[in-house]
Amino acid sequence: MREKKIIDTNTFDWPIILIYVVMVLFGWFNIYSASWNESTGSIFDLNKNYGKQFLFICISAFIAIFWLFLDYKVFNLFSYGVYGVLVGLVISVFVLGKEVAGNKNWIPIGSFNLQPAEFAKYGVSLALAKFLGTPDARLKDKITLRIALAIFLLPMALILIQKDTGSALVFLSFSLVLYREGLSGIWFVMALCAIIIFILTLYFGSVWVSGIFAAVAFLLYLLSSRRKYLTWPFLLVTIAVVGFSFSINLITDNILKDHQKKRILVTFGLLEDLKKEGYNVHQSKIAIGSGGLIGKGFLQGTQTKLRYVPEQHTDFIFCTIGEEWGWIGSTIIMILFVTLIARVYYLAERQKNRYNRIYAYCVGSILFFHFIINIGMTIGLVPVIGIPLPFFSYGGSSLIGFTVLLFTLIRLDATRSTEMSTLKDMY
C-alpha cells in the first residue's frame, strides 16, 4: 500500500491552472503595454497600473496556492457564511462607498479600492451550490425556485441600486445554472424571442413588427389542422408580442437611461454617435481592426498607446491584444477562453457530488457571461456594458475574485479523484 498523501497534486486539473497562468501573465503584459510610453520604467513600478497588477497577481498566486491546500469541506461548511459576509460588503458600500465617476461602488482600503460586486458572485455561487445541492432540492418546487432566484437577485438588486449595471447584469448568468438544474428551457426561448422582437422593433418600428407577426400568426392559424384547440394560444401569443413590441419605446424611453439607450442604438447601427456614446466602440474597433493578421507587435500599438481607447487597461484591455497581436493573437485568446469555459462545464458534469457540480456550473456561467459581454462589446456586437475581461483586465478585486472562484472549483474537483482513490484503496 502506497503512502497516503494529504493532497495529491496529480488530482488538480492542470489544464485549467495552465490556462489561468497564461491568461494572467499575458493580461499583465498587455496592461503594461496599454500604459506604456517612452518614459515608462520597470514593469514592477508599484505606482503604475502594471506594477499594482503585479502585486495583485502575487496576492492571487498566494491565495490560489492557499486555496488548493484548504480542506474541501470548508467551502461547503461556510457557504452561507461567506454569502452573508459578501452581501454585507455590498450593502456596506452604501455607507462606506467612495464615489468614482458618479457611481458609488467602491470601498477604499488604503490606496486601493475594493469592489464588493466582484466578490459577491463568489458568495452567490457558494450559496446557490449549497442550497440546490441538498438532495431534496427540486427546482420544480416553486418555493425552492423562488429561494434560488432570491439568492442571486438580492445582490443583483443591491448592485443595480448602486448604479453598477454591468456588474449587476452578470448575476443573470446564474439563470444558466438553474437551466442545467432543471428550469424549463421555455424561459430561455422566451427571453431569446423577446430580444429578437426588441431588435426587430428597433429596426422596423412596432407597427411593422406587430403587423407582420399578427399576419403570419393568423396565416399559421388558418393552415393549422387543429384550429379549434389553438384559438386561444395563438391569440394570447399575438397579443403578448404586439403588446411587447409597442411597449419597447416605453422601455427605452423611460426605464433605460439616455446613454444606455444610445449604446443599444449604436450597437445596432441605428445611431451614429462617434463623438460620445459611440466613441468607445468606434475607437475600440479601430484599434482591433488596425491590428491586421499578425498585429503591430508588443508595445507597438498606436491606438492604445495614444489613449484613443478609453478604459483600455480595464474593460477595453482586449483592444491592446487585438491591436498588438492581430487576428492570430485574438484567435488564440478566443480559443483559450472557449477551452477554459468548456473545460469548466466539462468538469462540472463529471462531479459526483451535487454541491460541486452546481458550484462548477456557477463558475462556468459567470466566465461565459463575462466573455460574451466583454469581447462582444469591444468588437461592437453587444452594447457597451462595463464589465472586466476575466484574468486580463486591470483590477485587484476582479483578479482576486476570479482567482478565488476558479481555485475553489479546482480544489473541489480534486476531491472527486481523492474520493475515487479512496474508494480504490478500500478494495
Binding site: 510610453n37 517612452e38 444558466l176 437551466y179 442545467r180 438544474e181 432543471g182 475607437q283 474597433k285 479601430i286 484599434a287 482591433i288 481592426g289 488596425s290 491590428g291 491586421g292 493578421l293 498606436t302 491606438q303 498607446k305 495614444l306 489613449r307 484613443y308 487585438g322 492581430g326 487576428w327 485574438s330 484567435t331 478566443m334 480559443i335 477562453f337 472557449v338 469555459i341 468548456a342 462545464y345 466539462y346 462540472a348 458534469e349 462556468g364 461565459f368 466573455f371 460574451i372 469581447i375 462582444g376 468588437i379 456586437l381
Partner: protein, 662 residues
C-alpha cells in the same frame, strides 16, 4: 443520457459557437475590412511636410544672386477644441483683439487642409520668439516654417522671376507625380518657373504620432518612416551680375530694354527691361503689398519689354537687307546707288539725311543711307531670278525666318513674343492682291508692318557677329555646377548667307563707330561694330535703337539696345551699349567716358507720371479684362484660320497676350 448532461452539451456547444462567432467577427474587423487601418492612421499619425531649401541662383561668375530666408506661419490643427485655452495671453502675444481672434478662427475653420489651417501668416520675428517660448501651452497650434526668396541684388528681376503659392488651377493640372499640395510655393515666372524642377528640391516628411487630444507624441517608429528633404539644385545663370546692375543703372528713368548676348554660346549676359522692379518687391512676403501697385503703374514695370515688346526695328534692319542683297547677288559690296536726299518712286518719297555722296555698301551701313536700301530692297524684290515680286518676297521672308524673326526664339525666358514679318497673304488682303515694291518700301529701312523684340534684335546682331549662325539665347549656364543645359540651347542655327557677305557688312558696322552715324560714342581700344537706328513712332518721339558687337574679330559680346521716345539712336542707345561693352571687355570699374556715363545716369526720359485716380484705376482694370477677352477671341480666330497667321502685332496686343499668360 440524462437531461442534465444533454443540457451540459448544449451549454458547451453554445460556448464554442460564441467563440466561433467572435473569431469570425475579428477576422472581418482585422483582415477583411481595411477601413480600420485607415481610421487608425488618420487617428494617430500625422505627416508633417518639411519643405526643402530652394536651389540657390548664381550669376556666371559664381556670384550669389538669390538665396532663401525662413519665415513662420502660425498654424492651428483640427479639431479646434480650445478648452481651457488662455485666449487672453495668446492674443496678447500676437497683439490681436479677441474679436480678431474669433474672426481668424472662423477663417481657419473654412480653410482647413490636411488637418490644419493657417491662423496667422508670416509671424513677425518678435512675436515668433515670444510664441516659441510658450508654444507648449497651445496644444492645438504649431509653427510652420516656410522659405522665401531673398536677393543679393536689386537687379535682374525679369530674368529671375518670382515664386508664389500654387494656384488651384496649377494644383489640378499637375502631373501624376502630384508633388504639390495646397499652400506650396512654385516658381511663377522667370528662371524660378523655367527651372522649377531643378530648383524645388524634394520635400521631406516627418511622421509623428498624435494622441487622442491632438498632442504630438514624438516620431513614429523612431523616425524610421521620416524622409529628409533634399535641397534644390544650384542654378548658375548666364547673367553677369556686375554688367546687369550697370545696365540697369544706365537705363534708369528711361523706358526701353537692353539685351546682351555672348555670340559664341548664345548666353544672355544682361537683360534689362526698364523701368523694372526690385526682385525683393515680389517675394512671398512683399508681394501682397507691391503687386497691385506694380500692376497699375503706367510705366508697366512688370512687363518684360526685352522679350515681350515688339518694335519696328528701324535702320538696324538695313543690315539684313544688305546681307540678303549680297547673298541674292543683286548687289555687291562695291555697288553704289545715288542718293538725292532720299529716294523717290512715283509720288512716294523716302527722306535721307545729309551724308557723303556715292556710298558703297560699307559706307551706306556706316552712314545709314535710306536711298541705298530702298534701291537694294527694290533689287531684291524685283530680282529677275523669281517669277514675281511675291515669290521674291517669300524668299526674302525665308531669310528673315532664318534670323529667328517672326517666331518665338524658344529661350528660357517666359512671355516671349513672336514679333512680325508680314506674310504675302497679308499684303494680298491689304492691297487686293496687287502689290509690288512701292507698297513695301518702308520695309527697306525697317519701318512699316515689321516688329522685332529686343531679344530677337540681340539674336540677329549675335548672328552677324558670328558671321552666319546663332545659338538660341538662354540664361541657364550650369545646374548643380554641371553644364547640363537643355539640348536645344546647344544646337547651332545656321543662316544660309555666305561668310564673306557678313564680313562686308561688318566692315561697314565698324566704320559706323569711326566716321559713321555713331562716331564719338566709341570706346578707345575696343573695335566695336554697330548700327544705329531711329525708329519713327506715330505715338510720340522716335525710339532710339543701337545694335553692336565687339571686338570685331572673335566677338565677346553682342548688344541690342532700345530707348523708347528718346530720339536718335546715336544719342541715346549707342552710348548705353558702348559703355556696357567697355564694362564687359575692359572689366574697368571706372569708365573712360565719365561725361557720357553721367549724362545717361541723370537723363529722365519717362512719360510724366499721371496720378492714379479712381477713374484711371477703373479704366486700367476694365481695359485689362476687355483685353483678355479680346485676345482670347483673337486666339480662337487664329486657331480657326492658321493660314492667315502673322497678324501684325502692336505693343498693346503683345501686352494683352502677357496679361493672359498670367
Amino acid at each position: 443520457m440524462s437531461e442534465g448532461s444533454n443540457r451540459n452539451q448544449s451549454l458547451i456547444i453554445a460556448v464554442i459557437a460564441i467563440g466561433f462567432i467572435f473569431t469570425v467577427r475579428l477576422f472581418y474587423l482585422q483582415i477583411i475590412d481595411k477601413s480600420y487601418v485607415e481610421f487608425a492612421n488618420a487617428n494617430s499619425k500625422k505627416i508633417l511636410t518639411i519643405h526643402p531649401n530652394r536651389g540657390l541662383v548664381y550669376d556666371r561668375n559664381n556670384k550669389l544672386i538669390a538665396f532663401n530666408d525662413n519665415f513662420y506661419d502660425l498654424m492651428i490643427s483640427y479639431p479646434f477644441n480650445l478648452k481651457n485655452f488662455d485666449t487672453l495671453g495668446f492674443c496678447e502675444i500676437l497683439r490681436i483683439t479677441k474679436p480678431n481672434f474669433i474672426k481668424r478662427l472662423k477663417k481657419a475653420d473654412k480653410t482647413v487642409y490636411k488637418g490644419s489651417a493657417v491662423f496667422y501668416k508670416n509671424l513677425e520675428q518678435n512675436k515668433y520668439a515670444a510664441l516659441q517660448e510658450r508654444m507648449y501651452e497651445y496644444e492645438r497650434f504649431y509653427i510652420d516654417i516656410k522659405t522665401d526668396r531673398k536677393y543679393k541684388t536689386t537687379s535682374g528681376a525679369h530674368i529671375l522671376g518670382y515664386i508664389g503659392e500654387i494656384s488651384q488651377k496649377q494644383l489640378e493640372a499637375q502631373d501624376e507625380e502630384n508633388y504639390y499640395s495646397k499652400g506650396d510655393f512654385i516658381g511663377l515666372t522667370g528662371i524660378e518657373k523655367y527651372y522649377e524642377k531643378e530648383l524645388r528640391g524634394l520635400k521631406g516628411e516627418e511622421v509623428i504620432l498624435v494622441d487622442s487630444r491632438g498632442r504630438q507624441k514624438g516620431n513614429y517608429s523612431k523616425g524610421k518612416y521620416d524622409k529628409q528633404p533634399i535641397a534644390g539644385l544650384k542654378v548658375s545663370t548666364t547673367l553677369d551680375l556686375t554688367l546687369q546692375e550697370y545696365a540697369e543703372k544706365l537705363m534708369q528713368n528711361k523706358m526701353g530694354s537692353v539685351v546682351a548676348i555672348e555670340p559664341s554660346t548664345g548666353e544672355i549676359l544682361t537683360l534689362v527691361s526698364s523701368p523694372g522692379y526690385n526682385p525683393d518687391d515680389l517675394s512671398i512676403r512683399n508681394k501682397r503689398k507691391n503687386y497691385g501697385k506694380l500692376l497699375l503703374d503706367p510705366t508697366k514695370p512688370l512687363f518684360n519689354r526685352a522679350v515681350t515688346a515688339a518694335y519696328p526695328p528701324g535702320s538696324v534692319f538695313k543690315l539684313l537687307n544688305g546681307l540678303i542683297g549680297l547673298q541674292e547677288e543683286v548687289i555687291y559690296p562695291e555697288t553704289t546707288f545715288p542718293c538725292y536726299r532720299g529716294f523717290s518712286i512715283g509720288r512716294l518719297h523716302v527722306n535721307c539725311h545729309p551724308h557723303p555722296p556715292n556710298l558703297d555698301l560699307r559706307g551706306s551701313v556706316a552712314n545709314s543711307c535710306n536711298a541705298y536700301y530702298c534701291n537694294t530692297f527694290r533689287e531684291i524684290l524685283e530680282n529677275p531670278k523669281y517669277k514675281s515680286t511675291r515669290e521674291a518676297y517669300i524668299k526674302w521672308k525665308d531669310y528673315m525666318l532664318q534670323f529667328g524673326l517672326a517666331a518665338k526664339l524658344g529661350s528660357d525666358i517666359n512671355f516671349e513674343s513672336k514679333g512680325n514679318i508680314p506674310s504675302p497673304e497679308f499684303y494680298d488682303k491689304m492691297h487686293n492682291g496687287k502689290w509690288g515694291f512701292s507698297r513695301l518700301i518702308s520695309l527697306s529701312i525697317g519701318q512699316g508692318e515689321i516688329l522685332i523684340t529686343p531679344l530677337q534684335m540681340a539674336n540677329v546682331i549675335s548672328a552677324i557677329a558670328n558671321r552666319g549662325y546663332y545659338y538660341t539665347p538662354h540664361c541657364i549656364r550650369k545646374v548643380d555646377d554641371k553644364p547640363a543645359i537643355p539640348q536645344k540651347f546647344r544646337e547651332k542655327h545656321k543662316i544660309k548667307i555666305d561668310r564673306q557677305h557678313f564680313e562686308a557688312v561688318v566692315e561697314g558696322m565698324a566704320m559706323t563707330l569711326i566716321n559713321g552715324t555713331a562716331a564719338r560714342t566709341g570706346i578707345e581700344g575696343i573695335e566695336i561694330c554697330g548700327k544705329t537706328g531711329t525708329v519713327q513712332n506715330p505715338h510720340g518721339k522716335n525710339h532710339a535703337v543701337f545694335m553692336c558687337f565687339a571686338p570685331k574679330d572673335n566677338p565677346k559680346i553682342a548688344i541690342a539696345c532700345i530707348v523708347e521716345n528718346a530720339g536718335y539712336g546715336a544719342t541715346w542707345a549707342a552710348p548705353v551699349a558702348n559703355l556696357l561693352i567697355e564694362k564687359y571687355i575692359n572689366k574697368d570699374t571706372v569708365s573712360s567716358k565719365p561725361e557720357m556715363e553721367k549724362r545717361l545716369f541723370e537723363a529722365y526720359i519717362l512719360p510724366k507720371p499721371k496720378p492714379l485716380d479712381a477713374t484711371r484705376i477703373k479704366f486700367l482694370k476694365d481695359s485689362t479684362t476687355k483685353a483678355t477677352k479680346d485676345s482670347i477671341e483673337k486666339k480662337k480666330k487664329e486657331n480657326k484660320n492658321n493660314t492667315t497667321g502673322n497678324m501684325p502685332l502692336n505693343r498693346d496686343m503683345v501686352l494683352n497676350e502677357r496679361e493672359e499668360d498670367y
